[in-house]
């Protein structure tokens, strides 16, 4: 059977997706990225996952299942840490094991490079893991990786001008159209421009976050912390909306930290929205409307 790689459109795909897909495309290997999250993917994810898992993990499993009939291989990297001193949460560290335990996929059908730091050795090792699973030469793998990495770096959108609202959260929530659709559509209906941490180069975000470096050891939380710090002193930001998901471990503490150390000291109005798998939108809309009214009233 021809090799066909599947990548779930969830979790860190929203961070590294372009790099991954272009890497496989450069190798000439067909790649399928699962469809945007929909009700069916969510329902299947909820059914497959352990009840207490966080929302993004549930969605991830739904995406994995949707890929199973189409693909011969699944790309599930284990990413634990890539900046020194920072970690990702336990769910990322256990992702390949979670998938393996849920679906009983044979070992050789999972491509699970293990990334524990950013060193060259790790990069070569990861490429080796991928090439071995797909049966291709490591030299061509490394070449494709290099190409993909170079084109990935120059991939940034131009800044948006004018007054706007900052929507801050994990990229896998904000970029998932299914979850943020109510928030985003309500804002666009009111003619409000939004900006997310994705519009700001990561470098700036991490630089901002050095103020809390001794406290925060989660990579993605540091990015959110940096985004809050950055947006809270930009004059053209009218308000800040923080989006997090129910049962997100890091967020449960980070929101408290950010609220106390940054948001309360800034003059920006802010709201923290918690998403879960219940798709009724009245709760979100009511809270958003109240927030927007308050913002108008204040300006």
């Amino acid at each position: 059977m021809d090799v066909h790689v599947g990548i779930p459109r969830a979790m860190l795909y929203h961070e590294f997706g372009n790099l991954w897909t272009s890497f496989f495309e450069n190798l000439g290997i067909p790649v399928t990225v699962s469809k945007e999250t929909n009700q069916q993917i969510l329902d299947r994810g909820i059914a497959l996952a352990i009840d207490e898992s966080c929302l993004p993990l549930k969605i991830y499993l739904g995406h994995v299942e949707s890929l199973l009939p189409k693909c011969t291989h699944l790309f599930i990297p284990r990413i634990v840490s890539y900046h020194p001193g920072f970690f990702l949460c336990a769910k990322f560290a256990g992702l390949p094991d979670v998938v393996r335990n849920t679906f009983n996929i044979p070992h050789d059908q999972l491509i699970t490079p293990n990334i524990e730091n950013k060193s060259l050795v790790t990069q070569v090792k990861s490429i080796h893991t991928i090439c071995q699973a797909l049966g291709i030469s490591i030299a061509s793998g490394y070449l494709s990786y290099h190409q993909a990495k170079n084109s990935w770096k120059s991939n940034l959108t131009s800044p948006i001008l004018g007054p706007k609202i900052a929507v801050i959260g994990h990229s896998y929530l904000l970029n998932d159209a299914f979850f943020c659709r109510d928030i985003l559509s309500l804002l666009s209906k009111r003619g409000i421009t939004i900006i997310t941490p994705e519009h700001i180069p990561s470098k700036i975000l991490y630089q901002e976050s050095t103020a809390s470096q001794s406290d925060i050891y989660w990579q993605l939380s540091a990015k959110i912390d940096g985004a809050v710090r950055y947006f809270s002193h930009q004059p053209d930001i009218q308000g800040i909306i923080m989006v997090s998901s129910f049962a997100c471990g890091p967020d449960s503490l980070l929101n408290e930290y950010v609220e106390h150390h940054i948001l309360k000291n800034s003059s920006k109005p802010y709201i923290i929205l918690n998403l879960d798998e219940h798709t009724g939108n009245a709760g979100i809309i009511t809270r958003m409307e109240a927030f927007l009214d308050l913002m108008d009233w204040r300006l």
């Binding site: 352990i50 207490e52 898992s53 284990r78 634990v80 970690f87 990702l88 949460c89 336990a90 769910k91 560290a93 256990g94 390949p96 094991d97 979670v98 335990n101 849920t102 293990n114 406290d215 925060i216 050891y217 989660w218 129910f246 049962a247 997100c248 471990g249 890091p250 967020d251 449960s252 503490l253 980070l254 929101n255 408290e256 930290y257 106390h260 150390h261 918690n274």
Partner: protein, 359 residues
């Protein structure tokens, strides 16, 4: 300076002794009660895990009694525990001006503990610091030993209540000991007492392995006294994780480079879990496999609601239970859990185990 620290099982006994021996003023937080957990929850973020809330309650009650310096352990990693301190400070500082000491567990624990003791007890000699650390570890292992003895003999007699009483007085007796020799004799004495009570020698009891998150395993109030509940029903409980073992391996062995928890448990946990997932997740899976391979009748998995590593571990545990045909009960504990809910589930689980054994 008045020091207080959060409770975790009988850890308070050696820590209190160690600090007072070194001439530090200690205000012990009152034992955990319903009020502690309610108070702690009130000052904690809603979605955080239970140990955070209980620690918070301990701190607040310690402060009420006049403490002004708080000590806690923390270690950065994939789990939330390393971030506890930073956020707890926010709410606590609003109550009173406080000093915090954090003992980092992710690096050299002995060095960090030593450095901490040197700052709070500047007049103590180096020898007495090292001696008191060693004594504290010895006390902990002695407490572990009588706890294990309680679980062993308690399950083999009709007089489980008497054994539990001996254990409780034994804890106080061990707390009074101040030399290694005294500890050793007392420990033997208590174990012999238990053995004498368990003379009626019932048949081999059902054996259950207890796995899960460290804090929940070690703090009896928070885990609803699960060990005593089980032995009263004639079930032997075993837990691999004991406070003393943990302290010994972390403080002594790891410092000497003789022990690496990650590699030790990784070997056991394969093929269900192939990587370290932070917290005690790997340990839970490793010990679960150990229990199934040693033909335990059932496994109970205890963890705080929303615990990230334990949830990842659950995916593996689900399969272990199925593949080895070992019954497993998962108890996810939060601040609302009432005794009744836990007892009912435990009783039902034990009934299942007994029926399975008969067949």
């Amino acid at each position: 300076m008045q020091i207080t620290f959060p409770h975790m099982g009988y850890l308070n006994i050696p820590v209190y002794n160690m600090l007072t021996n070194l001439g530090v003023n200690v205000i012990e937080a009152p034992p955990i009660t319903k009020k502690t957990i309610e108070l702690g929850s009130l000052y904690s973020p809603e979605g955080v895990c239970l140990p955070y809330k209980v620690n918070m309650g301990n701190f607040l009650e310690g402060i009420e009694r006049g403490a002004d310096t708080l000590v806690t352990v923390c270690g950065a990693g994939k789990c939330r525990q390393g971030f506890y301190n930073t956020v707890q400070k926010i709410a606590l500082r609003e109550k009173a001006p406080l000093q915090f000491h954090t003992i980092n567990t992710s690096e050299n624990l002995f060095k960090n503990l030593y450095a901490f003791l040197l700052t709070v007890a500047p007049n103590a000699s180096r020898f007495s610091i090292v001696k008191n650390i060693a004594l504290a570890i010895k006390t902990l292992t002695a407490l572990d030993a009588i706890n294990t003895a309680k679980n062993y003999y308690g399950a083999r007699t009709k007089n489980a209540d008497t054994i539990i009483d001996i254990y409780k007085t034994g804890m106080h007796q061990l707390a009074q000991c101040c030399t290694f020799e005294e500890l050793r004799t007392k420990q033997r004495e208590i174990t012999n007492q238990m053995q004498a009570v368990a003379i009626d020698g019932l048949k081999e009891p059902i054996k259950v392995g207890l796995i899960g998150e460290l804090y929940l395993l070690l703090e009896p109030y928070v885990n609803h006294n699960i060990e005593d509940l089980l032995i009263k029903q004639g079930v032997e409980v075993n837990k691999v994780v004991n406070t003393g073992d943990w302290a010994y391996s972390q403080i002594i062995l790891r410092t000497l480079g003789l022990y690496n928890e990650e590699t030790a448990y990784l070997k056991q946990a394969r093929p269900y879990l192939n990587y370290h997932i932070g917290g005690d997740g790997l340990k839970s899976v490793g010990t679960a496999l150990w229990y199934t391979r040693h033909h335990y009748d059932g496994i109970i998995h205890l963890y705080p609601f929303g615990c990230m590593p334990e949830i990842v571990a659950q995916y593996a545990l689900k399969n272990i239970s199925k593949d080895y045909n070992t019954p497993m009960l998962a108890l996810s504990i939060d601040e609302h859990a009432s005794d009744v809910g836990i007892i009912t589930r435990l009783e039902a689980f034990i009934d299942c185990l007994k029926r399975k054994e008969k067949q």
